[in-house]
Symmetry: D2
Subunit: 361 residues, 4 copies
């Protein structure tokens, strides 16, 4: 039933792709915080479709209104309510989908869940468009984390078979991290960027789509954040990240590689670095026993190829119980990875802030 996430920094999502508006409520921000509209605008812009050749031509203006919670841009202690009006919607594109559920879309299970009353237009409440309000709330979370010195960055680790370079976090300038936020295809290596671009365009030309992996880094986390068992840092982050449409897997630190390793090679040795406790390696990915160690939190998220493709597919008619040819018109991203990256980063910011605030109590 719940469209809410978080205990201390609590967000509640509402809207459908083609309802009057979509939005998000935020509870838990102290009165007196100056809303960072620039950061919200910047992150919305990173997520926005139609801004380049790698993404759909749909134009979502994402102009948001603040309905409540502030006076002259400063929070007043009441819940912050953001609403984005829905415009530029072509509802007719989706008419035939009522009977013919699209493969890999929520159409069929939603039809069962809601007894046929779900809003089919544009994917309804399952639409990727719902990540826009998440980006708004995530931007505020990112800003409140920045005030504490905590930073979140992400890169595309791979698109199809194209992989970005392996990196050593210790050798990277913060500049390089910040630059990721300005790139259409955020990777560390220039050549990889080009190759990934061609890979996406190749999928587009074939009226097909392509998946990829996003890697997220959370820097400057204090130690001792998180809880044993049910509210482990990994539990809370994975809960958040699997909310984002298209996510198929998540791994922390060594991740699935750990399954092949021995304890003696996997255990990260502690040492003192200038008085601070660190580990020589970071197979643990910044979290042990559900708690942060102060080492960077590193996790990777697998994203499936966009479900909507131009290629002819087959599905069923729910009415006639027959096989049906399906041609999906409309405009779609050949790869959702670059935009999913922003949604993952932003929802992680929400999850991390919630954990950090819990630790500050």
């Amino acid at each position: 039933m719940s469209y809410s996430f978080g205990k201390n920094f609590k967000v509640t999502l509402f809207g459908q792709s083609h309802s009057k508006g979509i939005g998000i409520l935020i509870e838990g921000i102290s009165a007196g915080y100056k809303i960072n509209r620039d950061l919200i605008a910047k992150n919305l812009d990173r997520r926005r479709p139609g801004k380049n050749k790698f993404s759909t031509a749909r134009c979502e203006l994402d102009d948001f209104q603040i309905i409540s919670g502030e006076v002259d841009g400063i929070t007043c202690g009441a819940p912050l309510a953001f609403v984005i009006e829905n415009k530029d919607q072509r509802s007719s594109d989706y008419e035939n989908l009522k009977d013919n559920p699209r493969p890999s879309h929520a159409d069929y299970p939603a039809y069962v869940k809601y007894g046929g009353f779900n809003d089919i237009r544009g994917g309804g409440q399952f639409s990727g468009r719902m990540t826009a309000p998440i980006v708004i709330a995530g931007s505020i979370a990112e800003d409140l984390l920045l005030n504490r010195g905590i930073k979140i960055f992400s890169r595309i680790k791979s698109i199809g078979s194209i992989k970005d370079v392996e990196i050593n976090l210790n050798n990277i300038d913060e500049e390089v991290f910040y630059d990721l936020k300005n790139q259409e295809i955020p990777v560390f290596d220039e050549h990889t960027r080009e190759k990934m671009g061609s890979e996406i365009l190749k999928a587009k030309e074939r009226e097909d789509s392509i998946g990829g992996i996003v890697e997220t880094f959370i820097l400057n986390m204090p130690a001792g954040i998180g809880e044993p068992f049910f509210d482990s840092v990994e539990s809370v982050i994975s809960h958040a990240v699997f909310s984002i449409p298209g996510v198929k897997g998540i791994e922390f630190g060594s991740g699935f590689e750990a399954a092949k390793m021995t304890g003696s090679s996997h255990n990260d040795e502690y040492y003192y670095d200038d008085g601070k406790v660190k580990t020589k390696t970071n197979n643990h990915g910044g979290v042990i026993g559900g708690l942060t160690t102060s080492m960077p939190i590193i996790f990777r998220t697998a994203i499936k190829p966009t479900s909507s493709i131009g290629k002819t597919q087959y599905t069923i008619s729910l009415k006639n119980k027959t096989r049906e040819k399906l041609n999906i018109h409309g405009r779609h991203d050949p790869s959702i990875v670059p935009r999913a990256l922003v949604a993952i980063e932003m929802i992680s910011a929400i999850a991390i802030l919630d954990l950090v605030m819990e630790g500050e109590r």
Copy 2:
């Protein structure tokens, strides 16, 4: 902060490895349910250490008491409270750990979180022993799911580099699934079982440990269970599974492979099978848009190698800020994978039952 999980079938965990007892509270069971003590006993037995050469020689009797919630074995509507008394604890084994945090254990972050007041004995509230009460609650969840025809099985997909065979779910007798629950090393292929056994013993001989992957199957799920966004089926299951100590990653259906795939090969085509909606492939792993499709839920969990190893390691002295040699005595599993499998299966039962009950409202 929260030691609770679930909304409809809600469990609350308490205890430390060496406290007077450990236990779990269960809320949300209707009055009139006959507690299946046999299933609890069987699953506790599967999880129990010391029963074979692959696991630690520690002996946890896991005799549980039902403090409240029932009359003559039938629930009465009050919370069910289970307590396992703690015996056979060698507290002295852990004396030197106060100053020397063990690599890959929660010792150091717990020290920071609790200001040094955490219970260091046996890992305190971070102990793998805490999964025993989870197995109790999970057994009840499994029983309540069985009453609805829903079944959960798991196998070891790999130990180190040894992999079990690929399978086609459609070709497997239910017998074969059930047999997994009787095996010390639950795999589909006999030869793999032997090889995995040797792999674990090899690690043991070297006073080292080895990781692995667990694969879990949830059969006969109705369609339309789960919620869009924050309470997606994957969100809820991953939240639960990352509670289990040692988990490094989780993936559903195609998982990380999806990142390399195109939409046209990844999309699962719907068809009617004897009047029931199914998909020809199951890359989606039983969940689309956060909702079940009625296809089997399939997920894989990466488990790290046991953190406690006999081999000499190095760590720090928190007091002296020096490097220290560390020899961990006591008894430890050369691989936690076989026992973690039970904990993962049981906590998944809790998560799934909670989702199913939400869907029945």
Copy 3:
């Protein structure tokens, strides 16, 4: 922190008196419910100020928009989001209040809580205006209860020293109850209505205000709803009712009279009436041990006199720490009792529906 109420029928309130809008989110309504706009309009109208001589001349049009959660007036399973735009606000009326907290208003404690950043305009998030969205959600709850045959009515039991007649529920036609919903001053006795009207106008002439008691009846409740201890029916209703500004006390059934009674006179004897279990008296007010008995739930709510009065008062200057004369301009109800009655009825509908839905699980 929480602006939410309810577990099964969950509402989340947002807005301030003079923010861009105020609104409410509703989660937990099944897809396929036809929103009863007429009932919403009727209840908003009952609550609306400025409609007669007993209430403030302010004009709140209370036109609401449904931002999400429906398609063509039918719920689709996504959260229902209602927004009322704020118009006709005279912000300047409140300028001087920043320094001079009004007696019996939240100004001073809100100033402390929010460090001076609270929205002082029109009472901010403490405004009685926030009950308008509660009436919207309450109307939907009332409609969903009516579908189950459960009805909620309220009358004014007293205004100042004027009391309505004692009644015997068994002798009252349902017609009479329904008529309460059409009255500006809902009482059972015509003469009382007139006397109460004069009492209110007398207070108005003196630029003063007057308190009163509201009595609420919930009919046709099934037995066995509620929980022992923390979620007793009285706990949940009182929690809800004390949310309404101006409430000073609540009592169920015999209420404070019970303190003077003996067990032999207070205990309600069970009997069978046409096969149904009833009690001869209803001192228990429809609830025993936190659970409903199927007898009518009856409770009375004490409402304080309106805090804003025209008469000159004294307060402090927070800046100068001096005593200050205070003249409150603007438009205010001489008695909030008639409008608070609607808010109490509506929030009770929310609480009752939540309890009933819990019982249906």
Copy 4:
């Protein structure tokens, strides 16, 4: 469904009158707190039955065990679990109640709610005995409040028609308050104490029972605690207090008297007292707009006469649908007011601490 209360200081109650044990879990206490066993023992002693002629002769030893959450009496950050073993139970006393629901007891609605599977022995999960674990948790809350300088006291305001004197809080030594905690019948006036004692004994002689009113004072509350609307201080306290069996009403400050008052007489004027903001009167009872003002919180709770009386009563046979004579044997308090006072005080401590901790975030 929920047996939990509180967000920051969260308690979860379990047990039935005749189950193996009863107990309470506490989450939210920082590691490093030394458990005040003396205060727990003292408060349990105040609540204990059988200690004088005003209460039942049952003997509940209330020896509690701490199952988890501490090491050597100091909290370690894990949930604190308390269990009281159930002894001295005469289950046979309750045999005949299965078919004949006792008036004013939860027997009948519980029978409906749990389909006949509820634990009828000693009132099961509805038993007043369940307030013993509440007293344990409340004592810890009281101790944590005392560490903040916040104090809670209660007196009996009336028993039947016997009333204690009116008091002026400003004129009372703290000594006098503390003395309330040592009295069997805690009142301010000696003569009243005697008269109340006779009133209770008179009821006892007649095999009847008598009700009363408890008045609770919370001193030294900081201003600005609580939330607008759903988590108003009154909402949270009343929610808690109505959990206690036998409570029929609650009022804050002027309470039901407010209904007869005018705004000009009810509004409490602010003034500066030695640099601190106070009000000249305290009709608001320490709370305005749901928030504390720093004035004492004062509330009164109406308690019904004990439901179990020796006098012959009549009820129904659920089996035969006939009228039946009912004689309740066993041992019962002629007035639960003195013991309910302790439960009210203790659950208020829990509610207040939870609110205060929320304010400290």
